[in-house]
């Protein structure tokens, strides 16, 4: 522990005249898990891209590995320096086998032919060391997200990397898979690797971090040792101010006369695969959480309700009337708006302007003469959304792809709000969103409930569910396992939700 394995000194990076990083220092020791935190745009990815060789730092920056100054250029440079990055979006070729992926770019050949057996034999011990439950011959397409991550880690170990950078590694993992990953990370730490762990999630940083370094606006705010890691301290360092009431919840539907009849009722809905006969109701002005482990069928249930997937039984009622919803378009017509969990793949049009993204769902309604765009109305609406939701971008004409995660989410949310939905289904509304924007999204949800919208929030972030919901419905393996209601005497508890989600306890309201 005495000699740092990696030292970065006065590292800066400019893009044209913009400084993305300014004089950042980072010291990492072998055998430590070093958490790196900061809001989106704080410079975390820039720093990591410098380490991987994707970016070249500005002159004057210094990087030392084992005390020796190094120049890292190109992805091979990072690998040669013993640095490996496990990216958020995994970089495996799904059509190839595990062994082929691990050897990608460094294939072993004999006499010009691929030496498959030798490669498979070389991978075996590493997979065993990681406790993998698949063989080197397995095709990556057949692996779960957790298993794929294992392949990435195996690839790093196989390249004899000693510094492992993990960028939000649990985003796509279930709770069980995350636990196994944490155990593995601790094992790697014990083996003497240095791990740089980038995450937005406070609980992970608690569980894993030996040290935490916080960046803000491209500069180093500071580092905390294990004993000093506290949520409020980190949040204050990240946003540069106190976030006193993080979860905004002022509205209480029990004090609201409108919240009598259910607005949305799903009755015994099933798709024959992942959703097995689920019923739920959401009332006007109520925020209902839909909790459960990843894979419990929450997103699938939402997709059935909005007609994005076909249901084989059951029906949906809106304000007591049975409605037939076969496409997302019909759901919108019926007053149900759905915020997807996969903002980039299923939500936004990254090349299109914020203006078009915001107005997309109401273009037809606003149009003149049955199809001519009303550009003034669209511009007004986008400007109102920017002001109302605090979207930070230069103007409404910039492409949505250039915005930070939180601002992208707000753009997508404005598209849904433009419809004026009676029912809003939000699937992981704060995933990949920085702390400041998270709090703003919570207050948007609270305001919507106040105005009488029925809100269903799917989230894997239990503190979030507890912080903003009036009632929590828990799913397990395609069924509704039970529900928990907030009341004055007993607030919602993480333990009760987990008990229902994992099936260790039966509970019903």
């Amino acid at each position: 522990m005495s000699e740092p394995i990696l030292e970065m000194r006065r590292v800066s990076k400019s893009f044209f005249s913009i400084k993305a990083l300014r004089d950042v220092d980072l010291t990492v020791y072998a055998g430590e898990i070093h958490a790196l935190m900061g809001e989106n745009g704080a410079g975390k990815s820039t720093l990591m891209k410098i380490l991987s060789g994707a970016y070249r730092p500005d002159p004057g920056s210094e990087i030392r590995i084992d005390g020796q100054p190094v120049q890292i250029s190109g992805p091979l440079g990072g690998r040669a320096a013993g640095i490996a990055i496990i990216y958020q979006e995994l970089s495996l070729a799904p059509n190839l086998s595990v062994a082929e992926n691990i050897y990608l770019g460094r294939e072993v050949s004999r006499g010009g032919l691929l030496a498959r057996e030798a490669m498979q034999a070389g991978v075996g011990p590493i997979l065993a060391r990681l406790g993998a439950d698949f063989t080197p011959q397995t095709q990556v397409a057949n692996l779960s997200m957790g298993q794929r991550q294992l392949v990435e880690i195996a690839r790093a170990l196989h390249a004899r990397s000693r510094i492992l950078i993990m960028d939000e590694p649990t985003t796509a993992l279930s709770a069980g898979e995350s636990e196994r990953l944490f155990a593995l990370i601790r094992q790697l730490r014990a083996e003497g690797l240095a791990i740089i762990y980038i995450s937005h999630r406070m609980d992970e940083v608690y569980a894993l971090g030996d040290r935490v370094t916080v960046l803000r606006d491209g500069t180093l705010v500071g580092s905390l040792d294990k004993g000093d890691i506290r949520a409020d301290t980190i949040v204050r360092m990240m946003v540069g101010r106190d976030v006193s009431s993080f979860y905004k919840k002022e509205h209480d539907p029990r004090n609201d006369a409108r919240s009598g009849a259910p607005v949305l009722a799903a009755v015994d809905i099933a798709d024959g695969r992942r959703v097995k006969g689920c019923s739920l109701t959401v009332h006007a002005g109520e925020v209902v959480g839909l909790a459960g482990l990843v894979g419990a069928g929450r997103t699938e249930l939402a997709h059935l309700i909005i007609g994005a997937a076909p249901m084989i039984s059951g029906h949906v009622e809106i304000e007591g009337r049975t409605v037939s919803i076969r496409t997302p378009g019909e759901a919108l017509d019926a007053g149900i708006a759905y915020l997807t969990e996969d903002r980039k793949a299923l939500g936004l049009f990254l090349d299109m302007s914020c203006l078009d993204n915001i107005n997309l769902a109401v273009l037809g309604r606003d149009a003149k003469f049955g199809g001519i765009l009303d550009r003034d109305k669209a511009r007004d609406r986008a400007k109102r959304a920017f002001a109302g939701l605090g979207i930070r971008a230069a103007n409404v004409a910039v492409p949505a792809g250039g915005l930070s995660g939180g601002n992208q989410q707000k753009v997508l949310l404005s598209r849904l709000l433009a419809i004026g939905p009676k029912i809003l289904i939000l699937d992981e509304p704060t995933r990949g969103v920085d702390v400041g924007a998270k709090s703003e999204i919570y207050s948007i949800i609270d305001n919507l409930a106040k105005s009488g919208t029925a809100v269903l929030v799917i989230s894997s972030d239990l503190p979030e569910i507890i912080g903003i919901c009036d009632r929590v419905i828990v799913m397990r393996a395609g069924h509704i396992a039970g529900q928990i209601r907030r009341n004055a005497t007993s607030p919602l508890s993480q333990e009760d939700i987990m008990a229902l989600a994992t099936g260790t306890e039966q509970l019903d309201a």
């Binding site: 913009i18 180093l220 500071g222 299923l346 049009f349 997309l360 037809g364 199809g371 765009l373």
Partner: protein, 351 residues
């Protein structure tokens, strides 16, 4: 912040070296530059080609007569490429436009020979194209077949249909109605300025396409489907309707192109007409900067692309390059121009 030690927890008082507003302003400035580059696109290349040919041909390029020839030659391809722009903007491709053009021209000429129906030949040709296009679109949108495969199939099948229509012969009609659109010109200033009707039609097609793409709900939906089809579906856009529309438009404009050819030649041959026209149309769209994966592009770029192709063909003949070398040079210019475009647009989200 070197004075802030690595283990200090104090937030520096002035820790905003990059004012977000400033960074954002610079970001938009760069985006605006990028948008201008995209919009201007290949226009400089077109101008350079024109000037180059003018010099190399001893001043024979910029003459009224020669410019007339260039625009007339580019007219049909411009119309086909406009339809192709709609298709490629959704991330698709239409390989069948050459065959549809032939079939539509055949249908038009055959109708024109009926004494009572003769005047209806023009709408008949356009309608024939639209029907084939809608068939393409239906197969692609409703059966979810890949556009490349569907239109590759109709490239062959519709070619066969075109030959069937005329019993595999050339159909003539020297007294075809509206022949002026093929060979006449619209006189703007008598004796000074007149524009070939073919070119008037092509410009009208470009103008209407621009209006549809930029000023209508449908236009935004076309860009949305090309940008992210899954997201478009989830946003309530009727993706199937958009796809049928774009292939329908591509077919309809191929039909119009067939009518333009028929009026120009007073004849059509199901085997020869429109052979490999789809390649020129695709080339014009790509030269115009439209992304092959969809979602990005403009109709004005397509117009410039179609003009580049026509200028190249015309200029190379003017300076006396042999037919064989014309092919080689055209191919290289296309690759070079697109490579230049890519190079300039590096760093854009997708190309």
């Amino acid at each position: 912040m070197p004075e802030n030690g690595a283990s200090s927890t104090t937030a520096p008082a002035k820790a905003v070296p990059v004012a977000p507003g400033l960074a954002a302003a610079q970001e938009t400035k760069r985006q605006r530059t990028r948008m201008i580059i995209r919009a201007v696109g290949m226009l400089p290349v077109l101008l350079l080609l024109c000037i180059g040919f003018h010099v190399l041909s001893d001043g024979r390029f910029f003459t009224g007569q020669n410019i007339g020839i260039v625009v007339q030659q580019s007219a049909v391809n411009t119309v086909l490429a406009a339809g192709m722009t709609f298709v490629i903007l959704t991330g698709g491709i239409d390989l069948s436009v050459g065959s549809i053009l032939a079939a539509s021209a055949m249908a038009g000429l055959i109708i024109s020979k009926f004494p009572d129906l003769g005047v209806l030949w023009l709408p008949a040709a356009v309608l024939t194209g639209a029907v084939f296009g809608i068939l393409n679109g239906g197969l692609i949108a409703l059966l979810r077949l890949p556009p490349f495969i569907v239109t590759l199939g109709s490239l062959t099948a519709v070619r066969g249909a075109a030959r069937l229509l005329g019993a595999d012969t050339t159909v003539f009609n020297p007294s075809i109605p509206y022949a002026f659109i093929g060979n006449g010109a619209l006189t703007l200033i008598p004796g000074v300025l007149s524009i070939p009707w073919l070119w008037v039609i092509a410009l009208l097609v470009i103008l209407v396409s621009w209006l549809v793409l930029k000023r209508t709900v449908l236009g935004v939906h076309i860009y949305a489907v090309g940008g992210n089809e899954s997201a478009a579906r989830l946003a309530g856009i009727k993706v199937w309707a958009v796809l049928i529309f774009v292939y329908g438009v591509s077919g309809l404009l191929a039909g119009l192109g067939g009518a333009m050819q028929a009026a120009r030649l007073y004849a059509a041959n199901g085997l020869q007409l429109g052979q490999s026209y789809e390649l020129d149309a695709i080339t014009a769209v790509i030269l115009g900067g439209t992304s092959f994966v969809g979602g990005i592009g403009s109709i004005w770029g397509t117009l410039v692309g179609a003009l580049i192709i026509a200028v190249l063909s015309n200029g190379l003949i003017l300076i006396g390059v042999s037919d064989v070398w014309q092919y080689v040079i055209k191919g290289l210019v296309i690759i070079g121009a697109v490579a230049l475009d890519r190079y300039r647009l590096q760093g854009s989200a997708r190309t």
